[in-house]
């Protein structure tokens, strides 16, 4: 092997290794910057004090104007944008989160932002979501500490900036956000209140991707096509909801609820019990709900990771295939079928998420087992449904002997995409 080849391999190491190194470098750079800044500040202060002392003694300096100019330095003050009750969340799909009855007050105090949730959405707690934009988004975000009445909630690190979210319990209405960094440039913080785990789908549409919300532990995650409302029958006061089979992918034991929110904010809940594969449909009595109401899904699934998406993937090789390799691709997932004279070998690889293959496969294994997701149909009527065990480093392989000259190999692969 040549060193250039090894270097190429190093280029494809686990994303988390790169992320770890980036986080470290980012912190280190800021530490170095702070040290330099403090050193320069001390030196400048020394010079200033000597100079001003001399000038003051000479009666030619106005201390007030000097310090006023220092403390009025707008470059050190972040621009804050608050959305009192605007909670539209840019999730995937057609997520629509209506206004909730909440207010958020933000006050900038020196280097501290005091955030007060004046009122919260019903009884579900609130996500305080901070979005960082601007030139400093990346370097700022790892300097955010959320303090809840002197108890540290968490220290967030997000390479490249982005969004951090923190759940605020119902009884906690005040959060202080300490900004530890020196702000070199203006930046913008936007606060959104998002009711915990509430996912809204638009009533009346047949294409109802449920929006995704990046949740915290024990929060609801009912994303993208996992819960797909295939039938909405607003007949009188009854709302019939039928879920596709894809809700098999929902795991967990938490309570699962479907509700309707009227334009006035009134909520009707329907208890559907625990999520099990058996639950495919439910009926909600929504009374005299306005046709413009929103249907939403709420639950307490204890998902370790966000589950989203669902796909079917079919490779059909008509008649007995000639030896060779066949590669199919769907949404980034590659399936490779290698065929010899007597054997077909099926590889499933590169599943969806770049760089998180192992992680995804490790987690989703259970789902695949549950779904018997790899199905091989043979011409003689045989249906082979191999149980996919733990993958060997992200690669599934399954060998199948040909037994019939007219064997047809059809792969139907169904799984869930794991992402976050």
């Amino acid at each position: 092997m040549k060193s250039t080849v090894l270097s190429q391999h190093i280029g494809n190491i686990d994303d988390r290794l790169i992320q770890e190194a980036d986080v470290f470098a980012n912190k280190s750079r800021k530490t170095q910057f702070t040290k330099k800044f403090v050193t320069a500040l001390v030196a400048a202060a020394l010079v200033l004090s000597l100079t001003t002392a001399a000038m003051a003694a000479a009666g030619v300096i106005d201390f007030n104007s000097i310090f006023q100019s220092i403390f009025n330095n707008e470059r050190a003050i972040p621009y804050i944008q608050t959305d009192d009750d605007i909670t539209e969340h840019a999730g995937e799909g057609d997520a629509i989160v209506q206004d909730v009855d909440g207010e958020i007050a933000v006050q900038y105090l020196d280097n501290e932002l005091e955030v007060e949730i004046v009122s919260a959405f019903a009884d579900h707690g609130i996500y305080l979501e901070m979005q960082f934009t601007g030139a400093l988004a990346g370097s700022l975000s790892d300097n955010i500490t959320l303090i809840n009445r002197n108890e540290e909630w968490g220290f967030y690190e997000a390479i490249g900036g982005g969004t951090v979210a923190q759940r605020i319990d119902v009884n906690t209405t005040v959060a202080n956000i300490l900004l530890h960094s020196w702000v070199e440039e203006m930046y913008r913080i936007r606060f959104n209140m998002i009711a915990s785990g509430v996912q809204f789908v638009e009533m009346g549409s047949t294409d109802m991707n449920v929006g995704e919300h990046i949740g915290m532990e024990n929060s609801i995650v009912l994303p993208g096509r996992v819960v797909e409302v295939t039938e909405l029958d607003l007949n009188g006061s009854v709302l019939n909801i039928t879920y596709q089979e894809s809700d098999l992918a929902i795991r967990g034991t938490g309570e699962f609820r479907v509700g309707v929110m009227t334009p006035s904010g009134e909520v009707f809940w329907a208890e559907l019990g625990e999520v099990t594969p058996e639950i495919r449909n439910g009926t909600i009595n929504i009374g005299d709900a306005d046709p413009n109401s929103l249907v939403f899904v709420w639950g307490g699934l204890q998902a370790e990771r966000i589950i989203r998406g669902n796909w079917d993937f079919t490779v059909t090789i008509d008649a007995r295939p000639e030896p060779g390799r066949f590669i199919g691709e769907y949404a980034g997932m590659r399936t490779e079928v290698a065929i010899t004279a007597t054997t077909v070998r099926v590889y499933l690889r590169d599943l969806m998420n770049y760089g998180t293959l192992d992680e995804m496969l490790e987690f989703s294994n259970e789902v695949w087992e549950m779904d018997n997701s790899l199905v091989l149909y043979l011409a003689d009527g045989t249906i082979v449904m191999p149980r996919l065990g733990a993958s060997e480093g992200g690669l599934f392989a399954y060998d199948m002997e040909f037994t019939h000259p007219e064997d047809v190999v059809r792969l139907t692969f169904r799984g869930v995409q794991i992402g976050g």
Binding site: I18, A21, I159, R349, N353, G419, G420
Partner: protein, 185 residues
């Protein structure tokens, strides 16, 4: 804009995706490519190529760690570009970094199957996770980011000789590890 928003733009085939990517990750891409190419014009071309590649990759990919995703693409493009640049123009750090890796390999030409490639990458990942945190990060900064010994030593507050020594030890361990895994080096 958060990563999911950017990725969504790509999926919608909105050209705003490129702008959003540049605003958020342009600096990262330029840093990675700059470490390898050491030339602002080449670096800029590489970054543009990176955006183009991301545009072509999404869809169908939906990367979960977008920073690493785009970083890898930038790195690969920069390395390819490096091959086409004359030796005189090469960034000494990148070249030195590659030459250091020769300790871990035989230098022979080899053709690896896709399976073997995956296996090697998994082995590398596993090896690195089993190293001390500092050694692991130093290795990644040196051979993934192509950072200079000087930069790394400042980052850690170590002397350059200590960083050099740590890298040497890690390379030796890596060679032994690859051999023990039956990987042809």
């Amino acid at each position: 804009m958060d990563d999911s928003g950017i990725i969504k733009l790509y999926w919608e085939r909105s050209e705003d995706a490129i702008q959003a990517t540049d605003a958020k990750y342009g600096k990262l891409c330029r840093y990675i490519a700059g470490n390898i190419l050491n030339n602002s014009q080449d670096t800029e071309e590489c970054v543009n190529d990176t955006y183009h590649a991301v545009w072509n990759a999404i869809p169908s990919k939906r990367p979960s760690v977008f920073s690493a995703f785009i970083g890898k693409i930038a790195r690969n493009h920069a390395l390819k570009k490096l091959e086409y640049i004359s030796a005189a123009k090469r960034n000494p750090d990148a070249v030195t970094s590659l030459s250091e890796l020769e300790e871990c390999v035989s230098g022979r030409d080899s053709v690896e199957s896709e399976l073997e490639t995956k296996r090697i990458e998994r082995a590398l990942t596993e090896f690195l996770w089993n190293q001390d945190r500092d050694k692991r990060i130093i290795f990644v900064r040196r051979y993934w980011h192509f950072e200079s010994i000087t930069t790394i030593s400042k980052m850690f507050g170590y002397s350059e000789s200590k960083v050099t020594s740590m890298l040497h030890q890690t390379r030796q361990k890596l060679r032994t590890y690859l051999e023990s895994e039956g990987i042809e080096i």
